[in-house]
Symmetry: C2
């Protein structure tokens, strides 16, 4: 069990006031899953991430990357080129998220047909 | 690699039009994580789930449970008692979500202090 240093209380995402609840909200998010997953292979520029994640708006990508940087998952490097080049890469903390995050995406891709059958009313549910 | 039966295309959550994108949105969601996690131990009544997940609104719990039932993750049983008793339990498909879902919550609880340090500007990022 982890004690939260700021509160002295046990980390417990089931408690609304525990800081883990907010972090869970950031991590358990489809854009976070896709961004962390596509940065897993190495640093990428903003537009490379944007092209990889079909359908993400510029606003959502910028906002999610800022949140991931604030939480310490992603590091942003700006190179003094003209025009300036900006790269994003996973921090050590972000690297440790790769495995649980990939597992969620992989589960989804593996079980999509079962979900579609359930939705069509053909599932065992 | 999984082929999506409804489209005949490979399952790929990076593609906006792939049905996996929507399912990822449902799964990568803090309420889904907390609900699946608390149903992992066995069936619960609506109010038991509500009490376990501190701070969830009735509207959000109802809506998330309906979505989880539609996707085939949760089965709803209504008993013909007075007043009617309603229980929710994970389906076989929902059971297979337990491991990746718990891993996300556990990661959050384990690493909360590193995230808080990053936020305070003391992290390595």
């Amino acid at each position: 069990m982890t004690l939260v240093e700021s509160s002295g209380l046990p980390a417990d995402a089931f408690s609304a006031k525990c800081p883990t609840r907010q972090v869970l909200d950031h991590i358990a998010n489809k854009w976070t899953v896709l961004i962390v997953d596509c940065l897993a292979a190495g640093p990428l520029r903003y537009n490379q991430v944007r092209r990889r994640i079909d359908g993400i708006s510029q606003k959502m990508l910028t906002q999610t990357l800022q949140g991931l940087a604030a939480d310490g998952f992603v590091h942003r490097t700006q190179y003094a080129t003209v025009p300036p080049r900006v790269e994003y890469e996973l921090t050590e903390l972000g690297q440790s998220l790769r495995e649980p995050i990939s597992a969620i995406r992989e589960w989804t891709e593996k079980h999509i047909n079962e979900v579609e059958r359930a939705r069509a009313g053909l599932g065992s549910a």
